[in-house]
C-alpha cells in the first residue's frame, strides 16, 4: 500500500475512531430525552453502531503486523500552553482491547434487557458513557487524554453499581470509587512528573505516550525510574487488582448488576494491565527490572491465595470474582517475565480473560435472574432445568481453566512458559529475573483453579437438583415470564454464541492474534534486556554502594 493512500485514508480513519467514541455519547444524550421504553433499544443500536465504526477501522488498519501506531497522532492541541493534544490512534494491542470492549458492550446492553426494570434511561445512559470513556482510554495516545478516559470510567461504574446493584451496593460502589480514585492519583502524579521532566530537560512540552516513554526510559536516572515505576505500578495495581489492594473487587463484583460485572471483568480491569503494559514498562525499564521480582511475588501470592479463597466459596458470583483475581495474577506474571513470550501471552490473556470471565458472569447472572439466589448451598444441579445453560457453563468453565483447544490455554501456557524461561541466562536475548520457581508456584494456582472451577460445575450445574423454596414467589416482581425457570431464551443464546465462537477461534487458531501482538510487545520490551542485565549485575554491587555512601558523608 502506498504512502499516498495512507495520508488520504488517515483522516477517515481518525474520524472512524472518534465516531466509535462519540456515538455512545450521542446515544446517551438521546436516551436522556427519549422515553424510558426506547432506552434499551437505543442503547443496543448505539453500541452496535460504535462496534461497526471500530470494525470498519480495524478492517482498514494497516499496522497489524508492524506494531506501528495508526493513524499518526494529530497535533490538534487541546491545551496549547503545555501542548496537551487530543491525539488518538491504535496499535494492534490497543486495537484488540478496544475491539474486545466494543464487542462486549452490545452483549452487556442486550444482556440487561430483562434484568434492569427500574430507571432504565439512566442505566443505559451511564452504560453508554462508560463505553465511551473506556474506548477513549484505549484509543488515547496522549497520556492526559488517557487519564481523562481512565478516570471518568469510575463515575458511570459508581452509578451502575450503587443504583442497580445488590443489597450492599452502596458500600461496594464507595469502596470501588475510593480505592481506584486514590490509585489513579498516583498515576496522575507520575505522568505529570514525567511531563515536567521532559519540559525541564528538552524545553518542549509533550504528552505523547511514545515521546514520553522514550524520553523517560533514556533520560531519567535509574533511581528516578525506580520510583516512577513504583508509583505507576501502585496506581495500576489497584485497578488490576494485585494482591494487597484487591479487596474492593470481590465486593464490587458480587454487588454489581450482571452487565456491570461483565464489563468490569471484561475490560475495566484491563485498563490497569494495559496501563502497566503501555506506560509503566516502557517509561521506566530500570524501575521495571528492579521491581519485577517484587511485583511477581505479589502476583504469585494472588494466584495461589485467591485460588484458595475460591475453593471455599459458596457464592457462585464471588467464586468467579476471586478467580478473576487469581487469573490476573498469572496475566501480570507473564508481563513481568519481561520477555516477548510472556508478554505476548499476557496480552492474549487480557483478551481471553475478558471473554471467558465475562461469559461466566453473564451465565451466573442468567441463573440469578431466574432464581434470585447465588449461594450454591441453596441452588444446584441446574443442568436438569436448563440444559442449554449448562452446556455454555461447562464450555466457558473449560475456556477459563485453560483446556487445550479453547482460548484460555494459549495465553496461560505462554505466560507460564515465559515465566519459566525468564532466567538470568542471556542466550535467549531476553534475560529475566523470575525462572522456574515462579512458574511452578503459579502452576499450582492453575491446578487449584481447575479444581475449584470443576467444583463449581459439579455443584452448581450437575449433581442433584436443589432449588430455593421461595424462588417461585418472584420477590423481584417479575410477574408473567420471570417466574418460569425454563432454559435460556433465544436472546440469551444469541449473546453467548458469539462469545463461544470467538473463544473457540482463538483457541484453535491463535496465530493471527499472536502475530499482531508480537511486534508491539517486542517494541515495548526493547529496552529490557539491557536493563535486566544491569539489574542482575548491580545486585551484588548494590550492597557495596550502600556501604560506600555513608563513608562519603563522613568525609564531607
Amino acid at each position: 500500500m502506498g504512502d499516498l493512500d495512507l495520508v488520504a485514508g488517515s483522516e477517515l480513519n481518525m474520524n472512524l475512531i472518534w465516531a466509535s467514541i462519540l456515538i455512545p455519547v450521542a446515544t446517551a444524550a438521546v436516551i436522556a430525552v427519549a422515553s424510558a421504553r426506547a432506552a434499551r433499544s437505543l442503547a443496543a443500536l448505539g453500541s452496535l453502531a460504535s462496534l461497526g465504526a471500530l470494525v470498519a477501522f480495524a478492517w482498514q488498519f494497516p499496522a497489524w503486523s508492524t506494531g506501528a501506531i495508526f493513524p499518526e497522532p494529530c497535533g490538534c492541541a487541546w491545551l496549547e500552553s503545555i501542548n496537551a493534544t487530543l491525539g488518538v490512534g491504535f496499535d494492534s494491542v490497543s486495537l484488540l482491547l478496544a475491539l474486545l470492549e466494543a464487542f462486549l458492550i452490545p452483549i452487556c446492553v442486550i444482556g440487561s434487557w430483562t434484568a434492569i426494570s427500574e430507571r432504565q434511561r439512566e442505566y443505559y445512559g451511564w452504560f453508554m458513557l462508560l463505553h465511551a470513556s473506556i474506548l477513549l482510554a484505549f484509543a488515547a495516545r496522549d497520556v492526559l487524554l488517557f487519564y481523562v478516559g481512565y478516570e471518568f470510567t469510575l463515575v458511570p461504574l459508581l452509578f451502575i453499581i450503587a443504583i442497580w446493584g445488590g443489597p450492599e451496593r452502596r458500600q461496594a460502589a464507595q469502596k470501588l470509587f475510593l480505592y481506584t480514585f486514590l490509585g489513579s492519583l498516583f498515576f496522575l502524579g507520575s505522568i505529570l512528573f514525567v511531563g515536567w521532566q521532559h519540559h525541564a530537560s528538552t524545553g518542549l512540552w509533550s504528552w505523547d505516550m511514545a515521546t514520553l516513554s522514550t524520553f523517560a526510559s533514556v533520560r531519567l536516572p535509574a533511581n528516578t525510574q525506580f520510583w516512577l515505576f513504583a508509583a505507576l505500578l501502585a496506581g495500576f495495581a489497584v485497578k488490576i487488582p494485585l494482591f494487597p489492594v484487591h479487596t474492593w473487587l470481590p465486593l464490587a463484583h458480587t454487588q454489581a448488576p450482571t452487565a456491570g460485572s461483565v464489563i468490569l471483568a471484561g475490560t475495566l480491569l484491563k485498563l490497569g494491565t494495559y496501563g502497566v503494559f503501555r506506560l509503566a514498562l516502557p517509561m521506566a525499564p530500570e524501575g521495571g527490572a528492579a521491581l519485577a521480582v517484587l511485583a511477581s511475588v505479589l502476583c504469585t501470592v494472588a494466584v495461589v491465595y485467591a485460588a484458595l479463597i475460591c475453593w471455599v466459596q459458596t457464592d457462585a458470583k464471588k467464586l468467579v470474582a476471586y478467580s478473576s483475581v487469581s487469573h490476573l495474577g498469572i496475566c501480570m506474571l507473564g508481563l513481568f517475565a519481561l520477555n516477548p513470550v510472556g508478554a505476548q501471552g499476557s496480552v492474549l490473556y487480557m483478551i481471553n480473560h475478558g471473554l471467558s470471565t465475562g461469559a461466566l458472569f453473564l451465565l451466573v447472572g442468567m441463573a440469578y435472574e431466574r432464581y434470585h439466589v447465588k449461594d450454591m448451598d441453596q441452588i444446584g444441579g441446574l443442568a436438569k432445568r436448563m440444559p442449554v445453560w449448562a452446556f455454555f457453563m461447562v464450555f466457558f468453565t473449560m475456556s477459563s481453566i485453560g483446556l487445550p483447544g479453547l482460548n484460555g490455554f494459549v495465553g496461560e501456557y505462554l505466560c507460564l512458559f515465559g515465566t519459566y524461561i525468564a532466567t538470568g541466562d542471556a542466550s535467549t536475548g531476553y534475560p529475566g529475573l523470575l525462572g522456574p520457581g515462579f512458574a511452578l508456584v503459579a502452576a499450582t494456582g492453575l491446578v487449584l483453579g481447575a479444581m475449584y472451577m470443576l467444583l463449581l460445575v459439579g455443584r452448581y450445574v450437575f449433581g442433584p437438583l436443589r432449588e430455593p423454596k421461595d424462588a417461585t414467589h418472584g420477590k423481584h416482581g417479575h410477574h408473567g415470564h420471570g417466574e418460569d425457570h425454563g432454559d435460556l431464551t433465544g436472546r440469551e443464546v444469541g449473546l453467548l454464541v458469539p462469545l463461544a465462537l470467538v473463544c473457540l477461534f482463538i483457541g484453535v487458531y491463535p496465530k493471527p492474534m499472536l502475530q499482531a501482538i508480537g511486534p508491539v510487545v517486542e517494541r515495548t520490551l526493547a529496552p529490557y534486556p539491557a536493563a535486566v542485565e544491569r539489574a542482575l549485575k548491580s545486585q551484588p554491587h548494590a550492597a557495596e554502594a550502600a556501604q560506600a555512601e555513608p563513608k562519603e558523608d563522613d568525609r564531607g
Binding site: W78, S81, V148, L158, F159, A200
Partner: protein, 536 residues
C-alpha cells in the same frame, strides 16, 4: 506621583458598583413591590456594567501611572469577581427575604420599612464586592487595608441580616469578633512592614526590600511583618490557623450568605496575600549555608515559605478530614471551602512562575462550582426551611432530576473527576507545584483530593443513588427562577469550560503580567531604575 484623576478613571468598575449599591439601598425601601423586585436586576446590571467599564479603562497606558505592584491583576481579577458576583446575586435572589416579601404581596403583612431587608442586603453585597475589587488595585498598604475592611464589614451584617434566629446571631457575633482579631493581626503585620521599610507604597517597599535582600538579607522586622500579615489574612481565606470560625459561621448564616462567604472574602484575601508577598518577592533571596556561603535560590524567603507550607498542608488536611466528619451540608461545604483554600495556597507558594496564574484559574473554577452547588441548595427548601442534611437530599433525582444532575456535576467537579473544570484546574495546580520544585506539595494535594472524595461522594450518593425517604419527601423547589438559572448556567459552565481551558489558562496567567519580582528589581536597579518606583 500618583495621578489622582487617572486613578479615578481606573476605579470606574468600583465606582459603578458603589453607585449601584446606593441606588439599591433606596430602591429596596420602596413601598411598591414591583420596584423592590427590580433590586436584583439592578445588581446584575451594575456588575455587567462594571465588567464593561473594566474592559474600557484597564489599558496598559492608564495603569502606567497607577503605581501598582501587579498592574494586570485587576483586569482578570475584577472581571472574575463581577462574574461570580452575578451568580451570587442570583443565589440570593428569591430566598433571602422571600417569606416577608410574599406575605406583603399577599397582603398578609403590611409593608414596614424597618423590617424589609432587601435594600440593605444587596447594597452590602455590592459594597463587599467593591471592596474585593479595591484590594486588587491597591498601590499602598493603607488602601489595601481599607479594601479588606470594606470586604469584611458588610459581610458581618449580611450574616445577621436574615434574622433566621439565634444561630444566625451567634454566627454573626462569632464572625465579627474573630474577624476583628484577625484584622488586628494583619494590621500589626502592616505596621511592622512599615517599620522595616519606612514606606507604605508597595512598589517602594519592594525596592527597599530588594536592596535589603541583595545586601544583608531581609530584616527580622520585615520577615515577621510578612508572616503576621499572612496569618491575619488566613481568616479571609478560611485557612489554618484562622479557620475555626468557618464551620459555625457557614452553618449559622443563611445559605446565600454562606455562598457569598465562601467566595468573596477568599478572593480578596488571596489577592491581598499575593500583593503583600509580591513586595518580598519569589526570587533573589539568599540562604547562608553552614560554611557561611550565600546561595541564591528561587522562591519566597525560607521562613515565609515554611509558614505558608505548613499553613497549606494543614489547611488541606484539616479541611478534608473535617469534611468527612460532618453531617450538615453547610458544615461540609465549609470544610470543603477550607480545603480548597489549601489547594490555592500551593499556587501562592510557587509564585509568579505559573503558580499565581494557576491559583486564579482554580479560583474561577472554585467560584463556578460554589455558585452551582449553592444555587442548587438555595433552590430547595423543606417546610419553609433551608435543607441542611444529606437525608433531605435523598432521592432528589426522582423529584428534581435536573437539580440532582447539576448537584452531581458540581460535586464530581469539586471531587476532581476529569474532564470537569474543577479537576482540570486542580491538575494545573499540581502541575505548577511540580514545576516550581514543590513535589511534596503536589503529593499532598493529590492525597487530599483522594481524602476529599469521601465527602463529595455523599452529595452524589444522596442526590442520585439513594431512594427518597420520609425527610426528603417534603423537599420542594422554591418558586423563583433566579437560583435555578444560576445553577443551570454554572453547571453547564463546569462541563463546557474545559473546552476553553487553553484560553482560560492564558487569561489567568496575565494576572502577573508587568510584575517585577525582587530579584529582577535588583538587576534592573543596577542598570536603570524604573521611573515608576521613585515616588517621593
Amino acid at each position: 506621583m500618583v495621578d489622582m484623576s487617572q486613578t479615578a478613571v481606573l476605579l470606574a468598575p468600583e465606582i459603578v458598583l458603589f453607585a449601584a449599591s446606593m441606588l439599591v439601598a433606596v430602591l429596596g425601601l420602596s413601598r411598591s413591590t414591583g420596584t423592590r423586585s427590580l433590586v436584583p436586576w439592578v445588581c446584575v446590571a451594575a456588575l455587567v456594567a462594571s465588567i464593561l467599564a473594566l474592559d474600557a479603562v484597564w489599558t496598559p497606558e492608564r495603569i502606567q501611572g497607577a503605581n501598582l505592584l501587579f498592574p494586570m491583576l485587576g483586569k482578570y481579577g475584577k472581571a472574575l469577581i463581577a462574574l461570580i458576583g452575578i451568580g451570587l446575586v442570583a443565589v440570593s435572589a428569591g430566598s433571602i427575604d422571600r417569606r416577608y416579601e410574599e406575605a406583603v404581596a399577599r397582603g398578609r403583612a403590611s409593608f414596614d420599612a424597618l423590617r424589609v431587608v432587601r435594600g440593605e442586603y444587596y447594597a452590602f453585597l455590592l459594597l463587599s464586592l467593591t471592596g474585593a475589587m479595591l484590594v486588587m488595585s491597591a498601590p499602598d498598604l493603607i488602601w489595601l487595608f481599607l479594601g479588606l475592611e470594606l470586604v469584611s464589614l458588610p459581610t458581618y451584617i449580611m450574616v445577621a441580616v436574615a434574622r433566621t434566629g439565634r444561630r444566625s446571631m451567634e454566627a454573626a457575633m462569632k464572625y465579627f469578633f474573630l474577624g476583628a482579631l484577625a484584622t488586628a493581626v494583619t494590621l500589626y503585620g502592616f505596621a511592622m512592614l512599615y517599620g522595616a521599610t519606612g514606606t507604605m507604597q508597595l512598589i517602594s517597599m519592594r525596592d527597599l526590600l530588594a536592596e535589603q535582600a541583595a545586601g544583608p538579607g531581609l530584616s527580622a522586622t520585615a520577615l515577621l511583618g510578612t508572616i503576621l500579615t499572612v496569618l491575619g489574612l488566613c481568616f479571609k481565606l478560611a485557612a489554618v490557623p484562622m479557620h475555626f470560625y468557618a464551620p459555625d459561621v457557614y452553618e449559622g448564616a443563611p445559605l446565600p450568605v454562606t455562598a457569598f462567604l465562601s467566595f468573596t472574602p477568599k478572593i480578596a484575601g488571596f489577592s491581598a496575600l499575593v500583593t503583600v508577598l509580591g513586595t518580598v518577592g519569589w526570587s533573589g533571596h539568599a540562604m547562608v549555608d553552614h560554611d557561611g556561603i550565600r546561595i541564591a535560590y528561587q522562591g519566597l524567603p525560607q521562613p515565609i515559605t515554611a509558614v505558608l507550607w505548613m499553613v497549606a498542608v494543614l489547611t488541606m488536611l484539616l479541611g478534608n478530614i473535617g469534611g468527612i466528619l460532618q453531617t450538615s451540608l453547610k458544615r461540609t461545604l465549609a470544610y470543603s471551602s477550607i480545603a480548597n483554600s489549601g489547594y490555592m495556597l500551593v499556587g501562592v507558594i510557587i509564585g509568579p512562575q505559573g503558580g499565581i496564574g494557576a491559583m486564579y484559574l482554580f479560583m474561577l473554577a472554585y467560584g463556578v462550582m460554589t455558585v452551582a452547588t449553592f444555587a442548587v441548595l438555595a433552590t430547595l427548601e423543606r417546610k419553609g426551611e433551608e435543607v441542611d442534611s444529606f437525608e433531605s437530599l435523598s432521592g432528589l433525582r426522582s423529584s428534581h432530576p435536573v437539580l440532582a444532575f447539576l448537584l452531581t456535576v458540581s460535586a464530581l467537579s469539586l471531587l476532581g473527576v476529569p474532564p470537569l473544570f474543577g479537576a482540570l484546574a486542580k491538575i494545573v495546580l499540581v502541575f505548577v507545584a511540580f514545576e516550581g520544585g514543590q513535589a511534596s506539595l503536589a503529593a499532598v494535594l493529590l492525597l487530599n483530593t483522594a481524602i476529599g472524595a469521601v465527602y463529595y461522594l455523599r452529595f452524589v450518593g444522596a442526590a442520585v443513588v439513594n431512594p427518597p425517604n420520609a425527610k426528603s419527601q417534603d423537599v420542594v423547589a422554591v418558586p423563583h427562577w433566579w437560583p435555578k438559572a444560576a445553577a443551570v448556567v454554572a453547571g453547564v459552565g463546569i462541563i463546557v469550560l474545559p473546552a476553553f481551558l487553553s484560553r482560560l489558562v492564558d487569561a489567568s496567567a496575565t494576572t502577573v503580567d508587568g510584575y517585577i519580582d525582587l530579584g529582577e528589581a535588583v538587576v534592573s536597579d543596577a542598570d536603570d531604575r524604573p521611573s515608576t518606583s521613585t515616588t517621593d
